[in-house]
Symmetry: C2
Subunit: 387 residues, 2 copies
């Protein structure tokens, strides 16, 4: 196990009607709020009206940044920064999924930065100070409600990049599983894969002796596998939505990664697909993950796949190692298919045209991942296998 | 899954040589420290000298409260409170295991309380304000390094009671597994059982749909089972000490209990044994736990034991439910024996004499536990079975 410094300061208010704490929590930081949200879903489920009423009843002034896109754009961030600067906002409150929260995070940093907010995405070291951030979550997926990362897209440059800062941890997040009842099947499926991928990114790693972390990762993987399917079949199943929502936070808040030294593999590859084709992030992950697994399976990694097959999928551990590994990968593929997700790039409108440039872009800062470090040729091979 | 409010604010510095952060972390809270520790073990391993040197080199003034007992006494707390009040201490730093940390916590609360510190143990509602607390851990067991509880013994009244406050969460804890290399086998064993018992107390509970929490509990139980034995056989095995140490914190910091409504069973029973006979807490737990399991096994609880047997002990899930449950309890008993722990009360010098009064004392505030609520007669039966 590696040394680590643990700090997970976000307060979580989990469960039905926890929105009751909203006003008192906000007022610990001030009374001027920027509300950041996406399309109409929070209006359709009545959450927008509820939030607005709470703010108004408690004398909290607010401004709004709406229409934040699923792969949130730097243009939205810039608008948000301007509103905050003009009005000396005290707290940025995202209402929605990871896109709104990620957007809120970079807005909160942009408030204290004199240059263009895109600088803060390209170079996280430029983030010096951050406004308090909070969230009301409506989609179990990115884990942004309890981590210090944000991913922002620049459509001018076809770049989708991650950035982060310790103060990107929201001060508090409200996780009411009922707000995710109306999430459509495709986003429930993509969100589940996103959570699983966050776990895979730290689980498939070679640190010796991180036994506890690996067993915890398996606990969360089993949770996703069980409840992803149920949530699609019964969208208003509270138990399923609750387990997925809490799994989304725990998968990426640091808990599974502390004590390991994971460098992610599949996310950086997928970010190129979303940057160039604006596909749903979790869909891209579902397509790439099994092919990445097949590609990196070799004598130095097979034991990790055996552990995965035996402990997560219940495959008997008496068989041949490679047989167990391949069965585990096959089970993963079948599970994603069972969620109704596409299995090939062509199904989401991606053909050969830009594979090479995307593979190059993914390695702009060097090889990708550390489970098996991938150069642009490796990534191109994985993209081609995923066609 | 039940609603919950998550807050785990303690910063953890985990790993070899993390003591390097000590001075800078303390100085965030001030420069006057009360050092709280037990017997000679921290002197024997050179940790005391190291801490003193760091404090001196950084201009941090300190006072000392030594000889804190394994079941820490209110008399030690009172001494510590006096030192803090006389010298306007800024932070209470425990160096040792859970006893020193628990003692430090109540000292930190006593600083702001005008009456006798025992009042704060009897009635946690009297705790209004708490000095910053920090710890350097040397024993994987109580989890006090990352939770908001403390257990204090009053030998005048034969009472061992738990108390707590959100500000009892240490500001930071340094967890260097090498500091536990010299822990003797009996305390390694007792500590492992203490961790397992903290997990059992929340795992054996009936909240519906807390699937994620149950899988995480099993992940930690497997960690204890694997590494408890190794740590006894190879005291300087870093991997074993690291996994146990991190498990001790995660077992009780709230993570496993959030979303459930656990009321503990075995700990309150054991506290009477320690209060009357001053035995090692984990030893008492090892003796009582299998008998408690046998006693509460019935048609309403059998499924929990099946889950335990199948997921933790790998017992095939095709057999008769009661057979699986009894096998799981037997495995638990055998595991504790394999750690070299006694299996009966008589082995630790406890006979029939005080069983009845201890059973009565355990239920002074009503029935114990909520998995199967136990009255004094139930507890007496469990004590008798454990003789």
């Amino acid at each position: 196990m590696k040394n680590f410094n643990y700090s997970i300061p976000t307060k979580i208010f989990f469960g039905k009607d926890q929105i009751d704490v909203l006003a008192s929590q906000i007022m610990q930081y001030g009374s001027k709020v920027l509300l950041v949200y996406g399309g109409g879903s929070i209006k359709r489920i009545g959450l927008y009206d509820k939030v607005v009423k709470i703010l108004q009843n408690n004398g909290i002034t607010f401004w709004e940044l709406s229409d934040v896109q699923p792969n949130p754009r730097i243009t939205s961030v810039r608008k948000g920064v301007n509103i905050c600067k003009e009005n000396q906002v005290d707290l940025v409150l995202a209402v929605g999924g990871g896109s709104s929260i990620d957007c809120a995070k970079v807005i909160a940093a942009g408030y204290y930065y004199d240059g263009d907010a895109w600088d803060l995405v390209v170079d996280p070291a430029k983030i010096q100070k951050v406004l308090p951030i909070a969230s009301i979550l409506t989609l179990a997926a990115t884990g942004s409600e309890m981590d210090f990362f944000a991913v922002i897209t620049n459509t001018d440059t076809n770049e989708k990049l991650g950035t982060g800062h310790p103060d990107f941890n929201p001060k508090f997040s409200i996780l009411d599983p009922t707000y995710s009842f109306s999430v459509p099947a495709i986003h429930t499926a993509a969100g589940t894969v996103d959570i699983m991928s966050h776990i895979f990114e730290v689980y498939f790693e070679k640190t010796e002796g991180a036994y506890l972390q690996n067993r915890m990762a398996e606990a969360l993987l089993k949770t996703c596998i069980k409840y992803g399917k149920i949530a699609i079949e019964e969208p208003e199943n509270y138990e399923a939505r609750a387990n997925l929502m809490w799994a989304s936070s725990l998968a990426i808040n640091g808990l599974l990664g502390y004590g390991k030294k994971s460098v992610w593999s599949v996310h950086p590859m997928e970010h190129e697909l979303s940057a160039f084709y604006d596909i749903i992030h979790g869909v891209g992950l579902a397509i790439l993950t099994p092919h990445w697994m097949e590609y990196v399976l070799n004598d130095t990694t097979v034991d990790n796949f055996v552990q995965y097959g035996v402990n997560v999928w219940g495959i008997g551990d008496t068989e041949d190692k490679y047989q167990i590994a391949r069965q585990a990968i096959q089970k993963t593929k079948e599970y994603f298919a069972s969620l109704g997700l596409p299995a090939t790039l062509r199904e989401v409108g991606i053909n050969e045209d830009k594979l090479e440039i995307m593979a190059k872009q993914a390695t702009r800062n060097g090889k990708v991942g550390n489970f098996m470090p991938l150069d642009s040729e490796d990534i191109l091979n994985i993209f081609n296998a995923s066609l």
